[in-house]
């Protein structure tokens, strides 16, 4: 029973990382209907930014996190302006290929700058096990879960209560109508990319601290899983990404612990397939009627 609880907490921690990364996918998809395949790489870049900041300045964890998130936000907006903006009217699959190209570009950029060997992420969160009854929980796990939930609540507040957040929702609902209402669509899209990328960097920093490694291809698998999470919860929906992230994290951890670590990826994707077949729009998605 204790082992099971321990696994649940691990799952929660992995899931919260997936959830913050999934938020970036889902926000971008919601607003410009683009699967931003470069998001996993932004997460990787976020981890590298944190790595460099720690080594160059030795700042405390929270400062490192903020610097990394700000840099990732700048990177995300730059990518959007350079690569995606010119293709906004092009066929959607061209934009998809551009996103894939961008993802390869960032991966290889990291490879050229930082080399292929994994860098060891210093323990910027002091590692102390905390005992709750019979359970032993690491500070890293607790920080991961609390920080993720804090930023999700913050994002929820931002989207629901503030003006830019409201314009974000308006643009994702109906772009043309929101232009008529005087919303600056380009600015809103840039804000979305900035927030999504910052959250991606948060995921990247937490991931690299949890697994103590930073390397150029680290974004691929978590990126793909987070994307699966976003689809599972209902792509384009912020609560969906959070739910999907936790579900995927839980399934993966439980499958690794009790079934087989080799098959865990197949189980994750298998569940995605089943959910999509039963409810194509994801767990929280609404069915849209097809208009002739």
């Amino acid at each position: 029973m204790n082992i099971f609880l321990q696994q649940l907490i691990n799952g929660l921690s992995v899931g919260s990382i997936y959830a913050v990364i999934a938020l970036g996918y889902t926000m971008v998809y919601g607003i410009i209907k683009l699967i931003n395949f470069a998001h996993g790489e932004i997460m990787m870049m976020g981890a590298y930014f944190a790595f460099i900041t720690v080594f160059a300045t030795g700042m405390p964890f929270y400062m490192v996190l903020i610097v990394s998130m700000v840099l990732a936000a700048v990177l995300g907006v730059t990518i959007e302006t350079l690569a995606y903006k010119p293709l906004r009217k092009a066929p959607r699959i061209s934009a998809l290929i551009t996103a894939i190209g961008m993802s390869l570009f960032l991966q290889n950029l990291a490879l050229v700058i930082f080399r292929a060997d994994p860098k060891i992420m210093p323990a910027i969160i002091p590692k102390r096990p905390i005992l709750i009854g019979p359970l032993q929980i690491g500070t890293v796990t607790i920080t991961t879960i609390t920080l993720s939930i804090f930023f999700m609540v913050l994002l929820d507040f931002f989207v629901k209560k503030t003006k830019p957040g409201k314009s974000m929702r308006a643009v994702s609902e109906d772009k043309e109508a929101s232009i008529l209402m005087g919303i600056n669509v380009n600015k809103t899209i840039s804000i979305t990319f900035a927030i999504g990328s910052a959250l991606g960097a948060l995921g990247g920093v937490l991931y690299s601290v949890a697994y103590t490694q930073v390397f150029p291809t680290m974004g691929i698998m978590p990126g793909l899983k987070a994307f699966v999470a976003a689809v599972l919860g209902g792509i384009g929906l912020i609560p969906g990404a959070m739910l999907g992230g936790f579900v995927i994290g839980m399934i993966e951890t439980i499958a690794k612990a009790y079934i087989s670590s080799q098959w865990s990826d197949a189980i994750v994707f298998g569940i995605l397939i089943i959910v999509l077949l039963i409810k194509p729009t994801g767990i929280l998605g609404k069915n849209e009627r097809e208009k002739v």
């Binding site: 699959i93 290929i97 190209g101 290889n108 077949l277």
Partner: protein, 333 residues
């Protein structure tokens, strides 16, 4: 009309034979070294993979991100068949053809099995579910005994060579070309243009969607088989998501719905990373950068939905219109 197409036919056959003879001539002359020969074989394999995916994504309009899965199935089935046929003393070409046919059929059947449920979805969701299937296939191959698992499969007879690979590629592209210009092909294209309208005029959309998807899987299996018999070693992780993406990039860059576009793009995108070898570490950086730039400046791909035609080219050459603007067919309504 019949006369013109007959003329086209003769011109195309002559052009292909000419290309083949030139290849043979350069190989016997030693102009094409073993290294270049390998690149040419990879070009052929990529042509088969890209044109088959173009049927599903370009002509049928269904985004598929799991093509490497079918390629993997084909590669493994073909390799295992050839390994078990090794002792029988069959000539290499016969052995290759049997293995490839079996590989294609196997991949096609799995294509039908995946296609029937998956093709109910549309657009990005279909892309994601095919991605999921592709990954499941890869993990499956990685974890069963028959395929050698993660250690890879060795001892595959190396029976792909430039002659058979070239002609198999020609046959595959010809079949796909005739298919897309047939009654069935027009039905498939009508689904891309407007599925509801196609259904309204009596086209069985589900049947054609599954058919197109299965044929694409069939040829992807053959492409995988050709790959297996050239490389002679299979590692399940080469058939990952990025491999599917590589094939999709060829299709989109060439132009969705243009088989000749896929052929040209397969040639360009196979040579490009090799030609950039001098840049060592910067190779893939430049490659991906060029990809983004090409997409920004030509989002509809090199050829759009038009086909390159030899006779049209000759006509333009005679009338000095080589660089006059081509009338592009626009997507959608």
């Amino acid at each position: 009309m019949a006369k013109i197409s007959k003329k086209n036919y003769i011109i195309n056959v002559l052009a292909i034979i000419l290309v083949f003879l030139l290849l043979k001539f350069f190989i016997s002359n030693g102009v094409i070294s073993r290294y270049y020969l390998g690149i040419i074989i990879f070009i052929c394999i990529n042509i088969v993979l890209a044109t088959s995916l173009n049927l599903a994504t370009g002509f049928l309009g269904q985004l598929a991100l799991g093509h490497a899965g079918f390629m993997a199935i084909g590669a493994y089935v073909s390799a295992i068949t050839a390994i078990s046929l090794k002792g029988t003393g069959l000539p290499n070409t016969v052995m290759l053809l049997i293995s490839l046919l079996l590989a294609g059929i196997f991949a096609g059947v799995i294509g039908i099995a995946i296609g029937i449920p998956a093709l109910r979805l549309k657009g990005d969701y279909l892309g994601i579910i095919t991605l999921g299937f592709g990954e499941v296939i890869r993990v499956f191959i990685n974890n069963i005994k028959m395929t050698g698992g993660a250690q890879g499969l060795t001892g595959i007879p190396r029976i792909s060579n430039i002659d058979n690979v070239f002609w198999i590629t020609v046959v595959v592209v010809t079949i796909l070309y005739t298919l897309t210009n047939s009654r069935h092909g027009r039905a498939i294209i009508s689904i891309r243009e407007d599925e509801i309208a196609a259904e309204a005029v009596g086209i069985q959309t589900t049947k054609y969607k599954v058919m197109g998807f299965a044929i694409a899987a069939f040829f992807a299996g053959i492409g995988g088989g050709m790959y297996a018999h050239y490389i002679a070693f299979l590692d399940p992780n080469t058939f990952n998501f990025m491999r599917s993406v590589e094939i999709l990039v060829i299709v989109v860059l060439g132009g969705m719905g243009s088989l000749t576009g896929s052929v040209i793009a397969a040639i360009v995108l196979t040579i490009l990373p090799e030609a950039l070898r001098d840049f060592a570490n910067y190779r893939l950086l430049i490659y991906s950068g060029l990809l983004v730039i090409m997409m920004i400046f030509r989002p509809q791909g090199l050829f759009g939905t038009t086909e390159f035609s030899m006779s049209g080219f000759l006509y333009r050459l005679r009338h000095n219109q080589l660089f006059s603007s081509r009338k592009n067919l626009e997507e959608g309504d």
